[in-house]
Amino acid sequence: MELSIIQTTQARVVATTAARLDAAGVLAFKDRFRAAVADAEGRVILDLGSVNFLDSSGLGAIVAVRRLLPEGVVLELAALTPPVERVFRLTRMDSVFTIHPVVPIGPATAH
């Protein structure tokens, strides 16, 4: 589970690159997410646009990584594919995250 990172003027966008976020990949996801947001400020947007399969372990990992954020940093989600959006809806976790239909892009800055 590789993650790409783009720092914009508005947020740090952390994007998945794998098609699956499942039990086999959650430990790597958590480790890489932790590194990606260690010095983040303000908003972190997790771009899940590459993920077309999310199981309960993957969902639990997304909930859990909120606790890895520096104090005061907020996690938002973006670009959920239909199967992923459905898991959020079925579990009602769509009610606890701000979810953007597409990544709200601002001007990128060096990171």
Partner: protein, 146 residues
């Protein structure tokens, strides 16, 4: 009509590999929503076997999916310890941000028949997927505050 039959040693990577084989094989002929439901339920059941029945170790598991009168049915067999019961409890309040417990709830909400039994030293789980109209409310997950 049998759609898929897989035998492997349960661990998360083997579960992923089995699901990829199933997805790219016979299930490719199903409607996307039905295929996604089948794969998600099978993933949750198999991960439950790996995590609970075998306690994170390796053990044999057999997984089958078939069509019966237009509905998708499945059976999973393992030789582990008796896993958690799927059909009761496990509700939560989303506002408390639980980090686990989603799997059993997903299985429950996406199936309309779920039978667990112990037979000849094996755990046997039979399920039938819920119809589309019954799937997407998510109500069984909620703790209601009245």
């Amino acid at each position: 009509m049998l759609l898929a039959h897989e035998k492997f040693l349960a661990d998360p990577l083997a579960v992923r590999a089995a699901l990829v084989r199933i997805e790219g094989g016979p299930l490719a002929v199903l409607a996307p929503a039905q295929r996604e439901t089948a794969l998600l339920v099978m993933a949750e059941v198999l991960n439950n076997v790996a995590e609970h029945a075998y306690g994170g170790g390796h053990g044999p598991v057999s997984a089958s999916l078939w069509l019966c009168h237009g509905q998708l049915c499945g059976r999973v067999l393992d030789k582990g310890v008796v896993p958690p019961v799927f059909t009761r409890g496990n509700r939560y309040d989303p506002a408390t941000l639980p980090e686990g417990g989603f799997g059993l709830g997903l299985i429950r909400v996406l199936t309309e028949r779920l039978v667990q039994r112990r037979r000849l030293g094996c755990n046997v789980l039979d399920f039938r997927l819920a119809g589309h109209n019954a799937q997407d409310t998510g109500d069984s997950f909620l703790i209601r505050h009245n």
